[in-house]
């Protein structure tokens, strides 16, 4: 792990969790409105209720992702205030666009949640489309900043530090990075949901098994296509790095090419590729069975369960690789540093840690607070996902209880009934 170890560990943890959840978030925000719409058109109550249950988890995913995103930014601010200050002066447009979309997003998420069954299906779909679209578009602003960190296109220092927007947006690493991220998020979201349904399939008896198997079969092709596209755009991203940020390129691939990278992270790339290989291995196995006319029974479903964790692992390792491979700099073009004023160079170095924050007490507090809290996060995930199997009519224990107490599937004002699902 790169220096300074404790800080990079804290940042990696917050960023890794944020990224995992954001990817899930984008996938779910896209999947849920589609799933509900398909269910409505086919008059398939089961599918509509699955969409609503996913929405319940999505609310949690969305919130936890936001919390860890804020945690990452705050940690970055505490340890690297000069870098954040510099970024603030330069990034009004890309971060500003992201902020506008974040604002639209929380409105659409709240609207989609609260207006379920309260507005016409068409209007609800429109709100869902806004939820999905903003989920997909928000990363554009953030990726523009990441692209800038790959190579500072558009940066001018005279008469004052500023950004030429057109040049910044023409950064060759921007589009491949963005598209790779979006398709990675879609494959992650779809595979995690497919894994959850495979897990549900294995725990369920009777007719419901077939419904879950059907869902898994429906999700896998789209997840596979997204994964494939992620690889295509990932390759494009690699080429773009080679053209504009050889420092970063060599830190990722130099180990394979016999070059002498400053920080060799080829091992992390291998880990990522191994996780991708696991996903393709499972997909090929499933495909083989389907081509042979075999059903997706317990054995393939057990394998499909691994797709979600492997997909999450892929995006986390990919993001960490992207972050580590430019260390110890925030901008992966050290060859340009001799043209920059010393205060800018200092602000762009990971080694320039805020001395008031780089204290043993901070690390002790972090460890002491994070350990139980991460255990509590695990408990939350366990409780949230520990559902009751339900029958085809969806009369779960929870719904029965709610109905007995007056039925509350929504907040009291204007409620129209519970959804009852618990998977």
């Amino acid at each position: 792990m790169p220096e300074p170890v404790p800080i990079v560990f804290i940042l990696s943890l917050a960023f890794g969790l944020h990224i995992a959840l954001v990817n899930l978030d984008i996938g779910l925000a896209t999947l849920i409105p589609i799933m509900k719409r398909v269910g409505e058109r086919r008059e398939d109550e089961f599918l509509v209720r699955r969409a609503k249950n996913l929405m319940r988890y999505y609310a949690m995913t969305y919130a936890v992702a936001g919390v860890f995103g804020t945690a990452f930014t705050v940690a970055l601010l505490a340890f690297y205030p000069a870098f954040i200050g510099l970024a603030g002066h330069l990034t009004w447009v890309p971060f500003g666009l992201a902020v506008l979309l974040i604002a639209l997003r929380f409105l659409s998420v709240a609207g989609y949640w609260y207006l379920w069954d309260r507005v016409s299906s068409g209007i609800h779909l429109l709100i869902g489309a806004a939820m999905a679209a903003t989920g997909i578009l928000i990363p554009l602003g953030f990726r523009a900043v990441f692209a800038f960190l790959n190579a500072p296109f558009g940066l001018r220092l005279q008469p004052k530090p500023h950004l030429i927007l057109g040049e910044a947006l023409s950064n060759p690493t921007l589009m491949p990075l963005y598209l790779k991220s979006v398709f990675g998020a879609l494959s992650t979201g779809l595979f995690v949901v497919a894994s959850a349904y495979a897990w549900r399939y294995l725990r369920t008896e009777g007719e419901l098994r077939e419904r879950y198997a059907g869902l898994v079969k429906a999700l896998l092709p789209y997840g596979t296509l997204s994964l494939f596209l992620m690889l295509v755009f990932g390759f494009w991203y690699t080429l773009s790095l080679l053209s504009v940020s050889q420092y970063k390129f060599l830190n990722i691939f130099g180990g394979f090419l016999g070059a002498d990278p400053t920080k060799d992270f080829s091992w992390l790339f291998l880990v990522k590729m191994a996780l991708v290989a696991v996903q393709f291995g499972v997909i090929l196995y499933v495909l083989d069975r389907l081509l042979k006319g075999l059903e997706l029974d317990d054995r393939p479903m057990s394998w499909i369960k691994t797709l979600g964790p492997a997909a999450l692992g892929t995006v986390i390792t990919g993001e960490l690789l992207n972050m580590y491979s430019q260390l110890p700099y925030f901008v992966a073009r050290p060859d340009l540093f001799n043209m920059l004023p010393s205060w800018v160079v200092s602000a762009l170095s990971v080694d320039t840690v805020n001395p008031l924050a780089n204290l043993p007490g901070v690390y002790v507090i972090t460890g002491a607070a994070l350990t139980p809290l991460l255990a509590a996060v695990a408990a939350l995930i366990y409780v949230a996902t520990k559902g009751e199997p339900e029958d085809l009519e969806g009369v779960s224990r929870q719904r029965e209880e709610m109905a007995a107490e007056g039925g509350e599937g929504q907040p009291e004002v204007g409620r129209t009934g519970g959804d009852g699902g618990s998977d």
């Binding site: 949690m60 804020t70 009004w92 929380f106 520990k386 204007g414």
Partner: protein, 537 residues
């Protein structure tokens, strides 16, 4: 005499970065409007659940569960709006953000853990209902509440530090009414202090107070600190800065090409070390009152909102509806909490807040009271200036009717906050009293009859809007009254601003967009969640 519009324009144009401030105000208000429910609803849910545990009446459980469902998504929306606000602050005020990260990061850092506590226990409260024992579920609720308030305690300490840093001494004497600029106490590293010329320092109002192992305690007038901070963030070297004027000649020459920012950084960092890296923000004189008053505002807004929602349900539910008894109980519960909360806000924490402002921000206090010949203050308008400004306010603020409240006109012009806060403050007080009367009437009606009259329900239904307005005005007075400062006595608005301020049209577009989103949010809530009910859906 300037009119209200003139005073608003004076706030907007009389200080730097008017439109940036306006956008920040709107963005943060959007966040605060939502956040109040994250801070307030868990308390109401936990109280309702505790009553359920004691009485066994299922209505209380139903109320608690409905409130939990309400704040589960409100929290997610609050987290997202918080992220948007955070980025807004970084983009518009990067120098302030950098300074906060550099010197007072610790409560912000602790907020990470508060956030995680919040998110874990708020969602556990939501998901674990019926899956853990009743008492365990209540405990989870208490932890969710603790997480939310812990988070509030951290961010409010940072805001309080910006209002009144522990090392900045306001210079107002209420026994004589004399005012002077605030003084900033700095623990200057010994090596840097050796470069200072005591006589030159004295000529600009600075004083060398005492020495320690690694410092010399120096008092500087806030005007000088403000100027130095501005020059530091503008990239001046020591040789180009005011510091050279108070340095010994040989030191000034030796340090001429050194960035002023790095010298100031060593001074401020040393000051923070001596004040306490982990505790400095909590030592702000306004902190405790701020925390209690802000949490109280959130509880008040939440209670009035719940009261308003159930008033609407009662208005729109037929008398024989089986749910009516539940709605009545929920309405009564919210009305009682609202009354208690607004009473504490008005008489307890509100008073403490006012007294703290009078002591630590006398300039803001003068503006709030409108003690200026430039305007007709509201007490003067009703011919009660002698009573209000001469007796009542001195008694409330300083505990003596013989004390004198600060005169706005005696304050040096570049230290004056905008006078519009006077009207905002008194409007807030008036509407706050009205809010208290609404709660009092609701509770009084419920004591007379189990079925509140229609007019009381209609009044209650409108009260959430009033509560939001009062809460907003409170923050508006606090933040607009912080001008001309970003951090009182240390950094002004011009210094905190980005070097690349966006064009005004972009700022206004974003502001309009945020206002439109908030309006849409409230319209959707009203039309689809409440009004729809009326049409029988």
């Amino acid at each position: 005499m300037p009119g209200l519009v003139d005073l608003i324009l004076e706030w907007l144009r009389g200080y730097p970065a008017g439109y940036e401030r306006l956008l920040s105000m709107i963005g943060i208000e959007v966040h605060w409007a939502i956040l109040q429910y994250v801070l307030g609803l868990p308390l109401l849910a936990v109280l309702a659940e505790a009553i359920w545990l004691r009485t066994g009446n299922e209505h209380w459980k139903r109320l608690s569960r409905n409130l939990a469902k309400g704040f589960a998504v409100v929290f997610a929306v609050g987290a997202a709006s918080g992220t948007a606000s955070e980025f807004g602050l970084i983009l518009l005020w990067p120098n302030l953000t950098e300074a906060a990260g550099r010197y007072i990061y610790f409560p912000l850092y602790l907020e990470i853990f508060a956030f995680i506590t919040e998110v874990v226990f708020i969602y556990l409260y939501f998901y674990a209902d019926g899956r853990v024992s009743r008492k365990a579920h209540l405990l989870i609720g208490v932890l969710a509440l603790a997480g939310a308030w812990f988070s509030g305690a951290m961010i409010l300490s940072v805001n309080s530090f910006m209002q009144s840093p522990a090392n900045v001494l306001a210079n107002y004497d209420p026994t004589t009414g004399s005012w002077a600029p605030p003084e900033v106490l700095l623990f200057v590293p010994t090596q840097v202090a050796q470069a200072l010329d005591a006589q030159k320092l004295a000529s600009v109002g600075g004083k060398l107070l005492e020495s320690g192992a690694d410092y010399v305690l120096v008092s500087l007038p806030a005007g000088l600190v403000r100027a130095l901070m501005g020059q530091a963030f503008a990239g001046y070297t020591v040789g180009e800065s005011l510091l050279a004027a108070v340095a010994r000649p040989e030191a000034a020459q030796a340090l001429a090409s050194v960035p002023l920012k790095s010298v100031l950084d060593s001074i401020v960092a040393n000051t923070v070390r001596h004040a306490g890296v982990y505790t400095i923000t909590f030592k702000s004189g306004t902190y405790v009152a701020t925390f209690v008053h802000s949490i109280g505002a959130a509880v008040t807004v939440s209670a009035f909102t719940v009261m308003g929602a159930y008033a609407l349900r009662l208005l729109r539910t037929p008398g024989d509806d089986p749910d009516r008894e539940y709605f009545r109980r929920a309405f009564k519960f919210a009305a009682v909490v609202a009354l208690v909360a607004v009473a504490i806000q008005g008489t307890g924490s509100g008073h403490a807040m006012g007294a703290a402002v009078a002591e630590f921000n006398p300039e803001k206090f003068a503006a709030m009271e409108g003690t200026s010949e430039q305007i007709t203050s509201l007490p003067a308008l009703i011919h009660a200036e002698g009573l209000v400004h001469g007796k009542l306010m001195p008694l409330l603020a300083y505990g003596s009717t013989s004390a004198v409240i600060p005169s706005y006109d005696l304050i040096q012009s570049d230290f004056r906050p905008p006078l519009v806060v006077h009207y905002l403050y008194y409007t807030k007080i008036g509407l706050g009293v009205l809010l208290g009367l609404v709660a009092l009437l609701s509770v009084a009606c419920l004591r007379r009859s189990a079925e509140p009259p229609g007019w009381a329900l209609n009044l209650s239904a409108a009260s959430p809007v009033l509560a939001h307005v009062v809460s907003f005005l409170g923050w508006a007075v606090r933040e607009m009254g912080r001008k001309p400062w970003a951090i009182y006595g240390i950094m002004d608005v011009q210094t905190e601003l980005t070097v690349n301020p966006p064009p005004t049209w972009q700022l206004m577009l974003v502001a309009a967009y945020l206002v439109a989103l908030l309006a849409l949010l409230f319209a959707v809530v009203y039309v689809y969640l409440w009004k729809r009910e009326e049409s029988g859906r």
